[in-house]
Subunit: 396 residues, 2 copies
Amino acid sequence: MINPDMLKLGSTRSGIRELFEFAQQRARIVGADNVFDFSIGNPSVASPLAVTDAIRSLLTEDPVLIHGYTSAQGLLSTRKAIASHLHKVHGVQAAPEDIIMTCGAAAGVTMTIRALTTGRDDEFLVQAPYFAEYSVFVPAQGGRLVTIAPDFSTFDLNLPAIEQAITKNTKAVLLNSPNNPSGHVSTRGTLDKLAAILSRKADEFGHPIFIVSDEPYRELVYGDIDVPYLPNVYANSIVCYSYSKSLSLPGERIGYVYVPQSAAMANQLVPAILGSARAMGYVCAPSLFQRVIERTVDVLPDLATYTENRALLSDGLKAIGYEVVEPDGAFYLFVKAPNDDAAAFSALAKQDDVLVVPGDAFGCPGYLRISYCVKRATIERALPRFARLFEKSTAP
Amino acid sequence: MINPDMLKLGSTRSGIRELFEFAQQRARIVGADNVFDFSIGNPSVASPLAVTDAIRSLLTEDPVLIHGYTSAQGLLSTRKAIASHLHKVHGVQAAPEDIIMTCGAAAGVTMTIRALTTGRDDEFLVQAPYFAEYSVFVPAQGGRLVTIAPDFSTFDLNLPAIEQAITKNTKAVLLNSPNNPSGHVSTRGTLDKLAAILSRKADEFGHPIFIVSDEPYRELVYGDIDVPYLPNVYANSIVCYSYSKSLSLPGERIGYVYVPQSAAMANQLVPAILGSARAMGYVCAPSLFQRVIERTVDVLPDLATYTENRALLSDGLKAIGYEVVEPDGAFYLFVKAPNDDAAAFSALAKQDDVLVVPGDAFGCPGYLRISYCVKRATIERALPRFARLFEKSTAP
């Protein structure tokens, strides 16, 4: 009587969500300060003041307008502001018509995958480690997720493996750079090579192969790391963006899909993505926050806290003996499980109210994702626990 | 290369959305005051002050919390407030675990349909006139929409026709009372009879038949009309609610699904609906507005404006000669097209910047949906145009 796939999805939840819900339950019992929740990507830095100011100012305007339906594609004024931002920052000739406002990047990705999927054989390629929910999103839209093993030496794209995995059924490569969970950022050189492979394969198979670039972490990079803008590298790129991380608005569900005019069938892709939104009941992206984005589109995140946290946690863990993958961006450390069994380590840590996500969920067993978007004190107070856990799990 | 169903959905749009977008375009050309947009259900009454006050107050709290991810099911405190509201108003023993916060009722309906659909033969029954998007939502989730002809004499449920349409494949009846577009409210007597039919048929076929009650207009009723609460009438009811109309927040996408514990397989339905949300990329309902709802859950809409508009438009149209279906609730007049060709009338009216929706979209040709959630002046200034249009379309 009930859809077994949906029941399974809802019963198991994602490992990350499960830990998050556990953390909330434990917080009610032992107090929030005694739960060391490194499990989720909930920004720990407050939204920029400009966001709060924008909301306050909007509250003085006509509420019928502010909270009313927008067009399905999103407010023209917001899409204009985004197009102009993209032109200014990345030099692309974006038009408002190329942009679709979405309920965050997750909605953008599911809408895009559904628009691209025509049959059960359609393949979407992703290299591990990858955002765990891709393995939900792709089959749920009717496609097949093809995963490529991680490159444990560099966490960079394994181009020969990608090339080999491309078949006549490949619809798109899912790219997530800065990467969740590894923090890795693909360089222009690597992306140029990827583009060349995809173009060659597209010629060979006689149809375009897209890159779906899921980039909620674009602005969260450290040092002088450059995050190349995919549409400047490869014409058939579709960008799924979210303000969840850059403006610390993850719960508000606001982002967009950008389909460059250069993309193959761009004039069909935009309506097809809008059609997917309609099919799934996405009427419009939240209206107040569409207007907030219009007013804060050029605001950059304050990275000082994440930079500090990253150093504190990375140095602390390395001093204990953990092997840490040095991240270029995002706000996660990807750490080798001391005993190579990430699930066991995560379970052990959970007993100690320390919540870390086993890399298995990201197609990368043996590693742990440890979010550093937490309070500084959480890291400081958790380090002795991480030391104890290291000892326990490496004890002979 | 591109999903033809999605392309079609996105290219054609809904008739309503198309008129809405046309209205916005025309407004930029001739000015908003010269577009008489009776096409969409965008509340024209401002959100209650309590909503704005709640947002202002929330802006003084911790932004990391306010804008952060909530659990997939929604904030416990919000679900508690809703459960308590439902108990107080309808006497149901609702628990927070029975409630799933959603991005509006459209998301709630698609999530519920997807959770209930196990194969292409699954049928969802709806009597015309019905919300046009059901014909998108049901097939997009893998089911089949079975439609029952309208009862043009009363616009009430045609119980014998419903009974006849139920087969072994019937999963649920979609109910929308107050009805969009007719404004009709089903009485307790009618619903009791419907419940008896469904129970009998469920016994006959050996599986439950659900009612999915889509009720964004619950609070918008006129005079002493009572809107029976489905879970009090029929155990296997699932309620999809939205604050779009009651709190005038249609663009904010905030509502919930309530699965009463009395419903068959309730303990599987809740996770299956959550699984559907996950499959479609609904991470959580917008967080700020989840908190707003917690604080405004008992606030009722101010119906004075709609009551006035309803009388003004209804009396005005009747004086011209139009046949009007007197609505119990919602904010639409369902009006017989003067020449019985609603599409032609709508096209004619569009040339005059008067936007009304042909009933064809609601499975009810020959009728027009005219929203009265507009400014009073819009009605006043449009009436002469409606008079001219009546003359034109009835001219021999």
